[in-house]
């Protein structure tokens, strides 16, 4: 036999599929990494080439030029741009130390730079604000999925009747409204005019659960209701489409209860596209719910980013942009991979 030991003479069709799947996943992951590298390079260059001098921003208006120069060297802004970028990327993996001797300070890995405005490492700033954004996104996400899928299914089952008409009107309004406006109206009416809730003052849930909930309930509801509108539409169409599928008819013909058919067959089929979009929307929110956090004064990543814009805090701006991009790319990749697993045709592309 000429075949080498260890090489099977033939692969079963199943293992061919498995190999195809593994290469597909590997390719997707590799592409995600390349994309992230491109995003980081682009973001870094974009902000570095702005006419603002990051070193001059490290201390106040009446700053001595020597101090600015010292800070420039300390933060590495005196080096050519490609070297700065290299240092930045290296810092993500190994951490970064600024300056030497007594005045040196270190941002441990993953370091995204140092904010002179807030005298803190960017990664620790993001670490502090991210939980707020995560709680906000997660709560809103659960609410809007329940609401969107629920009303969407209801509308589809009562197609053409008043329930369907009513949801169609409400969702049209819902998708039309800008978040900031609805958020402000909700805030003003509940907190100021009706005085049902105190003015939101965020506290972490472990610190003060009551404050946490009173600060979160309005943004959750606002985000959920507005986002649910488009999910209601997608669910309604998905359910209607699925109800025409053969496997659903088969379920009915088999004598299953309506409720069972809807839960086991219809919703399962209708939910696949919804989960995809939901994943992407959720990731976008995680990257900073800028508008919602601004309206409800939540100390999340979106507000951190907006503040860094007004303060010209470049390191924070680069850091938050990158983290947001990581979430978007990650969600895209995961969704793609799940699709590839569910639908073999996608892999062949």
């Amino acid at each position: 036999m000429s075949a080498k030991v260890g090489t099977p003479l033939f692969y079963s069709p199943l293992s061919y599929l498995r190999i195809a799947l593994i290469t597909f996943i590997a390719r997707r992951l590799l592409f995600a990494l390349v994309l992230l590298a491109a995003v980081s390079l682009f973001t870094y260059l974009l902000f570095a080439l702005l006419p603002t001098d990051p070193a001059a921003l490290t201390c106040g208006k009446n700053c001595k030029p020597e101090l600015i120069e010292a800070n420039r060297v300390r933060l590495g802004y005196d080096k050519p741009i490609h070297e700065q970028y290299f240092q930045f990327v290296k810092g993500i993996f190994t951490g970064r130390t600024y300056g030497t001797g007594d005045i040196a300070f270190t941002c441990p890995a993953p370091s995204l730079g140092y904010s002179f405005n807030q005298h803190e490492c960017v990664s620790s700033l993001i670490g502090k604000t991210f939980p707020v954004t995560a709680f906000l996104s997660l709560g809103a996400f659960i609410l809007w999925m329940l609401l969107g899928v629920g009303t969407g299914t209801l509308a589809a089952l009562h197609r053409g009747k008043w329930q369907d008409r009513l949801t169609s009107v409400i969702t049209s309004i819902g998708v039309s409204l800008p978040t900031f406006y609805v958020g402000l109206l909700v805030l003003f009416s509940v907190v100021i005019w009706l005085q049902w809730l105190p003015f939101p003052h965020y506290a972490s849930p472990s610190e003060n659960l009551h404050d946490f909930l009173t600060a979160m309930i309005l943004p959750w509801i606002t985000l959920a209701v507005l986002s649910a509108a488009s999910y209601t539409r997608i669910t309604r169409n998905g359910v209607l489409e699925a109800m025409n599928e053969d496997f659903v008819r088969f379920g009915v013909a088999k004598g299953l209860k309506n409720r069972t058919v809807i839960r086991k067959y219809v919703l399962r089929a209708a939910l696949i596209p919804i989960v995809t979009i939901a994943g992407l929307d959720f990731a976008a929110l995680l990257g900073g719910a800028i508008v919602t956090e601004s309206v409800f004064s939540l100390p999340g990543m979106g507000r951190l980013a907006i503040r860094s814009v007004t303060d010209s805090d470049l390191p924070v701006l680069v850091g938050t942009t990158l983290v947001a991009a990581v979430f978007i790319v990650m969600a895209n990749t995961i969704v793609d991979i799940i699709y590839g697993i569910l639908d073999p045709r996608v892999r062949l592309k």
């Binding site: 994309l35 800008p178 900031f180 402000l184 003003f188 005019w193 938050t320 942009t321």
Partner: protein, 328 residues
């Protein structure tokens, strides 16, 4: 003979029914959709007001720039209930300056709709061209365009738009765009288009890929049609429907985004005002003058809603399956 005449007449009628083009059928379906028709009249009304803003304001005897101190009390707040609504100022006056809100709203419609129209036009043109090219040529060109799409989508657009406002408007001004609001408007439209074309291109590319494999396209290719003919005679006429839908749905989207940008501080400078600027302003007076909070908001809601309903109507009308679905 009368019988033959009747047959001819019937035949004629049949011929009429048979000869309806898809566009005609869609138009008839759209006309039957009463809600969508009302919505399109609302849209036309707003567009008309925006186009003829100076005339409308003259006819109403109002001016967006006139400061009416008499309408304000000692605290600079509107003197009277509901934001000092009166026969002179139908929708009240702006706190602080006493400018007529209705007039500002009418002139604001110009700016908001201008941003919406131009951004939609740019995104659609860029998106359709790149989408068709990617889907039609495939191969390397498709790969480049698709990777570029992925890259654009990976950025948190809202944050970047806000962060780059100051440096880029300055850059535009140094390039010769008039300082102040023209530069700001140009910037807003450019960045909205820069991030917006991706969605159009994705849809158009998908449609083109599907069309490419259809028999009539293959037939045209086999008979030696050039690229130009393929794109303009074979592909484009068949993807008009989704393009029209995208246009009607993305326009209100841009109007809403512009208002969000204004709220976040990336808006126009006074005395010009878009609806978004007015909304952003009114927030400051929510306690003292809640009417001001509602007036531009309601206008924005009505406009955006009308566009959305009209867009849905167009989508239903262009979908040949929608008739059948109504039966089922």
């Amino acid at each position: 003979m009368s019988t033959t005449e009747a047959t001819v007449g019937e035949l004629h009628e049949y011929a009429l029914i048979e000869s309806k083009s898809p566009g005609r059928l869609a138009w008839e379906r759209f006309r039957r959709d009463r809600v969508a028709v009302v919505a399109s009249f609302v849209v036309l009304f707003f567009v008309g007001i925006a186009l003829f803003a100076p005339l409308v304001c003259k006819a109403l005897g109002i001016n967006p720039l006139t400061l009416d101190r008499k309408a304000l009390n000692d605290f600079g707040l509107p003197n009277g209930p509901f934001g000092a609504m009166s026969r002179k100022h139908l929708l009240g006056v702006e706190p602080g300056t006493g400018r007529d809100i209705l007039a500002r709203l009418i002139y604001g419609a110009r700016i908001s709709l201008f941003v919406g129209f131009v951004s939609t036009l740019l995104t659609t043109v860029i998106g359709v061209v790149l989408g068709i090219v990617a889907g039609y040529r495939r191969g390397k060109i498709d790969a480049v365009i698709s990777r570029f799409t992925d890259l654009t989508l990976a950025f948190p657009s809202l944050l970047l738009i806000i962060a780059l406002t100051r440096p880029f408007t300055q850059r535009l001004e140094s390039l010769g765009v008039p300082e102040g609001n023209p530069a700001r408007l140009t910037y807003i439209i450019l960045v909205l288009s820069l991030f917006g074309w991706v969605y159009v291109a994705r849809i158009v590319r998908g449609q083109t890929l599907a069309l490419r494999e259809r028999e009539f396209v293959e037939a045209a290719r086999a008979s030696g049609a050039g690229h130009w003919h393929m794109v303009f005679k074979e592909l484009l006429p068949n993807i008009w429907a989704p393009i029209i839908v995208i246009v009607s749905l993305s326009l209100p989207g841009y109007v809403a985004v512009e208002s969000t940008l204004s709220f976040l501080g990336v808006g126009l400078l006074p005395p010009d005002a878009s609806w978004g600027v007015m909304l952003g302003d009114s927030v400051k007076y929510y306690r003292a003058d809640p009417t001001y909070l509602f007036v531009p908001g309601v206008a924005l809601i009505v406009l955006v809603l009308a566009f959305n309903v009209m867009g849905d109507g167009i989508r239903d009308a262009l979908d040949p399956k929608s008739d059948r679905q109504q039966l089922g």
